[in-house]
Structure formats: structure tokens, C-alpha cells
Symmetry: C2
Subunit: 280 residues, 2 copies
């Protein structure tokens, strides 16, 4: 009997459970939750079959997915050596270098470092939904260190739930993710804080059209999850914030100098994203 | 026979035409377009009945909506004195102070300064759709200067197409809009430019999940439209960018100093937007 064990049954882990259940990939799906309340919700919502302690989950499961905040993942990885000798592992963390470095040599071949490029601003088992991974990309890092069999098992899991697989070095992943994922979160938190400081609730509700709602959506993301990402990817995130700062300063300078032609060119150059996403 | 004349048949003007047509509010709907190509598209898509020159549109129409970029609106307003003596006017511009100041005394009572709080990142007549205004807010500014009859005509037009009316002083509108609408555009342009400068197309497509797509959507907005808004609302936009800068600098400083508790509190304070939008 094959068992999927999920550590952290929130948006990511819970959605993995639901997608795997739908595809009948395992005989049973168990979870280790961060609280009794969370366990109860995950069982009631039929996300997992049973809630187990971390040690019991590790001892019993054949495929183990770590879907906790990334500092928790790093803390738990050494304990995976207690798992079955043929168990395979994957994490779903948003950073990869620190996680790869934390994998004990004894299980390095069987641990696939993964980052599914999807999510919402919500968290917890109630936020989980079975189609989260459908047609999205999962980045697998440093797979040259993986055993062929373990890599195939994890790749099959992601493929069957609808994901497209891309491989990348963990350092490259972290540098790209800093710009394309972590920076937007920093900006959204800063935008939300500056608007909340200046504007009252009524003005926000009156004037917030789709643009502001989109730009501030990420600012609702779990701080417990994101503080860990900022800790682990600090240098790359700092570099990304600096690069963004430079661009905003350029606009401020053109605005201050009434250099409208150059400011319009600056806006127009940003339009190039249009073509990139259109080409998909 | 009542005629609606729309100056600038793009996303905003074209959508107004479609919504008004659906509600059968006018006997005919005419438009003044920025190009022959645009006129042809607007007629073919059944957005307007006929394309007219600006002078002919002004001479013939009973209700006239200005839906051009805001510098064009300011340039055209003096010419509205040539309209019928009982014609009523509204503009749909994203700034209000400069537009209100440009209204000639002879038509001040009949000109309602309006900002519908909706839009998309697309422009031109093909971007227009009849439900754009449905259930959205329109801000009317400085209405104490309006004649009762003209104000009622314009309010009825907006109400019938599904809008909720909010009144505000034009200076207040511009200050709030700088934070809640114009700042997010500046940020999105800066994010798009910094990512395009650092990242290649392939990495962007691989790693861009919903968050980055949302945050960069506004960067696709028409530079021709937005450069005008930045010109007219420069002081308020500068203040908003500075306030945002302060927040981002705060985060950078906490990150540099490994002050994780304070950085997490900073993230958590942004979560407060959650509750504001949830209460709707």
C-alpha cells in the first residue's frame, strides 16, 4: 500500500493532496498539520485521510512532500533520515539553495527540490483546491544529484497532476525568483502599507479599481511564510529591490524635471511585457 | 431626437457607448475618433452609429462625453462653448483639478467632472465592453458648481448603466487617486522595467505565476494616456511615490539588519487590507 505523507497541509500541501486524490495516485494520503484545528479542518474537508505526528508520518509514508514555510523545511530535513529506506521526498518551498544545502547526504539522491510556480494569497487547508497545479510550471533544482528512480517518481507525481517540468540550478532559481516572485511581494507589502498609512478605509474602497486590487493582492500573503523566504533569499531579494529602486528613481527624476518624452518612453518600455505574455 | 456624442472612442468612451446603447438611453450615438482606422473599428463593432469631426459632434449632440487622454480633454474644453445652449457635458478623465480649472465659465454649470473607477490595461475601440461600468463607482467632483438639471442628466446616465455615485472635491480626488490609482501604475511600470532589464523572456515565462502577472498587468497600460495623468497630477504623484519609497526603504533596512521580527510585523501590517476588502 502506497502512502503520500504531506508535512504542512495548507494551500500548497492541501492542494497537492486533493490533486493526488483525484488522480488516485496513492492508497492513502496522510498529513502532519501545524495545529489540532488545522488537522480537523483538513480531515473534514477530505483533504487528507488521517492526521499523523511528524515522526509517524515519516515512518509510514512512501512519498513525502514538505509543504511548510521554508525555514521549517530546513529544520525538518535532517529528520527525514528516519524514513523508509526507499521513501522519496520533495519539498514545495519558494527558495531552493538553502533547502538543497540542508539535505543530508544519506537521502540526497531521493530528495527532489521543487518549486511549483503557483499559489494564491490565501493559506491554510481551507484555501486548498485540486486544480491549483493544473497546467502550471514546477521548477526542479539540482536534479543531477538525484537517483533516477526517485526523480522519476516525483516527476510522475507532478506530471499526472498537470504540471510542466522545468529544471534549473538552485542558485539560478533563487536569483530569478527574487526578481519575478519575491520582489513583487515586497512591493505589494510596501504599497499596502503606504496606502494604509495615508488613506482611510472609505477612500480606499471608493477609489480602488481593479488596478489597486491586483497590486495589493499579494500584500494579503501570509507573513509567516514570507518572512522565511526573505531570510533565506536575502542577498538576491536585496539586489532585486535595489534594481527596482533604480527604476523608480529614474521615473521620479524624469517627473521632477518635467522630462515628459523620456518618462513616456520609460512607460512604453514597460509595455514590452505585453508581447512576452501574449506570445504564450 | 437625443444624441450622445463621445470624444475619444476607446476603452472608456466605447464602453460608455455600448452601455448607453444597451439601455436605449439615446436615439443616436456618435463618436469623434483619433484616427480613420479607429472610426472604422468603432462603427464595425457597432460601438457608435457614426463618426463625426469634433466640430460636427459638438454642434449636433445633446450629451457630450470627453473620453480622451486628460491633456487632450483640457485642450478641447474651451471649444465646448460652441455646443447647443442646452447641451450637457461630462469628462471621464483620471485627474480632476486641471480639468475643472479648464472649464469656461459659460458652460461651467453644464459640465460635470467625472472619474469612473474602472478600466483595464487595454485601449482602443476593440477594448470596449458594455459591462465595464456595471456595479462600479463614479466620482463626481465639485458638483456644487453644476446646474441642477445638467447634474441630474449626467447622474441618471451613470446610474442607469449601473454605477454608484460618490461626490468629492477635485483636489481631494487627485490626492487620493495619486495613492490608490496613479502610484500603482508607476510601481507596475518600474517593476516591469526592472524585471525586463534583468531577466530574459524564458525565465519570465517560466517563473511568472499569478503574483507577477497581477503586479505587472498595469505596466501594459497606454503610455499616451498615463503620461498625461502624470503631467496633471505631478505633485500628488510625487508625494505618493515618496511615501511608497519610505515604506520600501523601511523594509530594506530591516532586511539588511536581519531584523526579522520587525520585518514580519511590517508584512503583517500590510495584511490589514484583507479586512478592508473583505468588509465590502
Amino acid at each position: 500500500m502506497r502512502q503520500l505523507g504531506i508535512v504542512g497541509v495548507g494551500l500548497m500541501g492541501g492542494s497537492l493532496a486533493l490533486a493526488a486524490r483525484e488522480k488516485k495516485l496513492f492508497d492513502s494520503i496522510v498529513g502532519c498539520c501545524k495545529s489540532r484545528e488545522s488537522s480537523r479542518a483538513a480531515i473534514e474537508l477530505n483533504v487528507i485521510d488521517r492526521a499523523l505526528s511528524f515522526d509517524d508520518l515519516i515512518a509510514d509514508s512512501d512519498t513525502i512532500a514538505l509543504a511548510a514555510p521554508v525555514e521549517t523545511i530546513v529544520a525538518l530535513i535532517p529528520k527525514l533520515v528516519a524514513a523508509k529506506s526507499d521513501a522519496v521526498f520533495a519539498d514545495l518551498g519558494s527558495t531552493k539553495t538553502a533547502i538543497v544545502q540542508a539535505i543530508p547526504p544519506a537521502i540526497r539522491g531521493r530528495f527532489v527540490a521543487a518549486h511549483p510556480m503557483c499559489g494564491t494569497e490565501y493559506s491554510g487547508p481551507k484555501a486548498a483546491f485540486g486544480s491549483l497545479y493544473d497546467d502550471r510550471i514546477v521548477v526542479l533544482c539540482d536534479t543531477e544529484a538525484n537517483d533516477q528512480g526517485a526523480l522519476e517518481t516525483i516527476q510522475t507525481l507532478f506530471s499526472v497532476i498537470g504540471m510542466k517540468i522545468v529544471k534549473m540550478r538552485s542558485q539560478d532559481h533563487d536569483r530569478h525568483a527574487a526578481f519575478i516572485s519575491h520582489l513583487p511581494h515586497a512591493i505589494s507589502y510596501a504599497l499596502a502599507n503606504s496606502v494604509l498609512r495615508q488613506e482611510d478605509k472609505r477612500s480606499i474602497l471608493t477609489l480602488a479599481a481593479g488596478g489597486f486590487r491586483d497590486m495589493s493582492r499579494l500584500a494579503k500573503s501570509s507573513s509567516a511564510m514570507w518572512i522565511d523566504i526573505f531570510k533565506q533569499n536575502k542577498p538576491a531579494i536585496t539586489a532585486a529591490i535595489n534594481a527596482f529602486d533604480d527604476e523608480l528613481k529614474k521615473a521620479e527624476k524624469l517627473l521632477a524635471g518635467d522630462d515628459w518624452d523620456a518618462l513616456e518612453r520609460w512607460m512604453k518600455s514597460a509595455n514590452a511585457l505585453h508581447a512576452i505574455f501574449k506570445a504564450e
